[in-house]
């Protein structure tokens, strides 16, 4: 039997395939297609202190092997989350991780504190990398001092596993990762979206209401893989690899590069069965390559 279990900063996952924040809703949206307990973990959509309306439409542009989004953290706020969404999440039998966003250090802390009180939220993923909001978001993730500051502030109020999600829009991802490690993070998620832009040549207008947006999908996989590789070699924290994962082979690549687990994002849109197919594809790979435990692949790149 192939052992797909991995451990990630104290979280025991039944398999290393998680769903990425903002691409899987709160789990139940895919329930007609497969059991939402199947992924190793579900990272739910970003939650902020106050409700946010997000950006005006259009919020999406298709690109070569990818897409841009400019959602802008639309959500109903932490209090609504606690009273209305959390009860539903409890029904899902896998690790649930909340994605925490904000525009000030205080607002991150507020959400983290309220999340800490929720038993079934097993960890939080601190989103200091959203490119689609004016204040905060990516600004925190693109400077070492502010990345450290927000991580340290949240660390003080959040005793459970603290995962920090980094922005790829930086000169040195390793320096940011070190800062976040110094701030007390237990694990890193990388990467969030690359800042991009799309223009409609016929209308001579930006496609997105916000002009720029976040690029995701297979197009960014080489950048994500490189960053996972750089960071896992330099920083002693477990890493969750994200970016363009659509097939089991992609997930294997991230594990080999050093990731302990992976997240599937945009692929959920193109192929709603992506996650179950990746999980079963990992099993096939393990059989083919005689790998008994998936964790043996982590960092297993032959140089």
């Amino acid at each position: 039997m192939e052992d797909l279990r991995v451990e990630l900063c104290g979280l025991r996952l039944k398999n290393p395939v998680m769903t990425a924040s903002g691409t899987f809703g709160y789990g139940h949206e895919f329930a007609d297609f497969y059991d939402p307990s199947l992924p190793g973990a579900i990272i739910v959509k970003a939650t902020t202190a106050e409700p946010r309306a997000g950006n005006p439409y259009p919020r999406m542009a298709e690109t070569a092997s990818g897409m841009l989004n400019a959602v802008g953290l639309q959500n109903k706020g932490i209090d609504y989350f606690v009273s209305n969404i959390y009860p539903e999440l409890q029904k899902i039998d896998t690790v649930i991780i909340a994605n925490v966003s904000g525009s000030t250090v205080e607002s991150y802390v507020e959400v983290a504190e309220k999340m800490a009180a929720l038993d079934h939220i097993r960890a939080i993923e601190l989103n200091i990398s959203c490119p689609n909001v004016k204040a905060g978001g990516m600004a925190f993730g693109t400077s070492c001092p502010s990345a450290l500051a927000v991580t340290a502030a949240v660390r003080k109020v959040y005793p459970k596993p603290l995962i920090v999600k980094l922005s790829p829009n930086v000169t040195s991802i390793v320096e940011i990762a070190r800062a976040v490690a110094d701030g007390g993070a237990d694990a890193l998620s990388l990467i969030n979206t690359l800042l991009g832009m799309a223009i409609d040549a016929e209308k001579r207008k930006p496609v997105l209401s916000t002009v720029t947006g976040g690029l995701s999908g297979p197009a960014i996989k080489p950048v994500a893989l490189r960053m996972v590789w750089q960071v896992t070699r330099a920083v002693n924290l477990p890493v969750i690899g994200i970016g363009g994962i659509a097939r089991a082979g992609d997930a294997v690549e991230f594990l080999l590069a050093g990731a302990t687990a992976v997240q599937v994002g945009t692929a959920n849109f193109v192929n709603p069965m992506a996650v179950p197919e990746i999980i079963s594809g990992l099993k096939d790979y393990m059989i083919r390559h005689r790998v008994a435990q998936i964790r043996d692949l982590v960092g297993g790149l032959i140089l």
């Binding site: 895919f30 297609f33 439409y57 989004n69 209308k203």
Partner: protein, 269 residues
């Protein structure tokens, strides 16, 4: 109305005009229950320039034959590629998605369709006929080449036509049709087409105090309510067209009671 993912098999590809194809598919297992106004996300045959699925309204459903049809207007790479598929081609499809039209309490009702906006209206018309509601239909297009399937709509009531170049029916936009010069003898207006047209229809319906439902479009990535890319401002805040719509009562749409914008269907704010 649970969602299914099926490998639909093309039975027939009918070119209705230079820009329109009707694709009739057979489902491999029993069709899920579909409502008029609901849509499907089709996986376009792979190739450059198309990454995401493409949303299309359900145009016709035949549970007896287990077939489902879509009306495809050629606008870009994805629709061109779909319009080129041959019988036997398998198209992976997620459906039915979203919320459809509500049935009226009594008739007669008016359908207003512009361009590929007739796609959901044909299915609606069939349901209304089955429900015994008389259904008139107003179809608009740029030229007579945009006016298709009138015979299908005629089965259930009068068909009025406008074309911008006057090549068929009255000359002008749908909303300039003489129908709107008199009090509207309908209990409900259902409309689908470009946003500018829908806003104008909404204004006319509002003026005539006739309830109105419109089917909206938006740029969609997931089609199932998780990406939040497809929102429209409503009285309850931004709502996803793919799950709360695509059909909305115009009362719920913010700003739709103001003068119709003539501009783009997707204004950049």
């Amino acid at each position: 109305m649970s969602k299914a993912i099926h490998d639909l098999v093309l039975r027939e590809n009918v070119q209705l005009s230079p820009f329109y194809h009707r694709l009739d598919f057979t489902a491999p297992s029993p069709l899920p229950e579909c409502e008029p106004g609901q849509f499907a996300e089709l996986l376009v045959p792979p190739g450059p320039g198309v990454f995401l699925r493409r949303p299309f309204s359900i145009h016709a459903v035949d549970y007896k034959d287990n077939t489902i049809s879509f009306l495809i207007k050629l606008v870009g790479e994805g629709t061109r590629r779909l319009a080129g598929i041959l019988p036997g081609t398998v198209i992976n499809t997620v459906y039915p998605l979203g919320r459809g039209f509500t049935m009226p309490e009594k008739g007669p009702v008016l359908l207003v369709g512009g361009g590929c906006g007739i796609a959901p209206l044909l299915f609606l018309s069939a349901r209304l006929k089955a429900g015994g509601f008389r259904t008139d239909c107003l179809l608009g297009g740029r030229t007579e080449k945009d006016i298709i399937e009138t015979a299908d709509f005629e089965r259930n009531g009068a068909v009025f036509i406008t074309t911008e170049d006057g090549s068929l029916g009255e000359k002008g936009l749908v909303t300039a049709h003489s129908l709107f010069d008199r009090p509207l003898p309908y209990t409900m207006v259902y409309a689908c087409g470009p946003e500018a047209m829908l806003r104008a229809v909404a204004m006319l319906a509002m003026k005539a105090s006739v309830p109105c439902e419109v089917s909206l479009e938006n740029t969609m990535a997931c089609g199932v309510g998780v990406c939040l890319c497809c929102v429209v401002p409503t009285t309850e805040g931004n709502q996803c067209v793919c799950t709360e719509g695509p059909v909305f009562n115009i009362n719920r749409l913010s700003g739709w009671d103001q003068a119709a914008r003539i501009a783009d269907s997707c204004p950049v704010i």
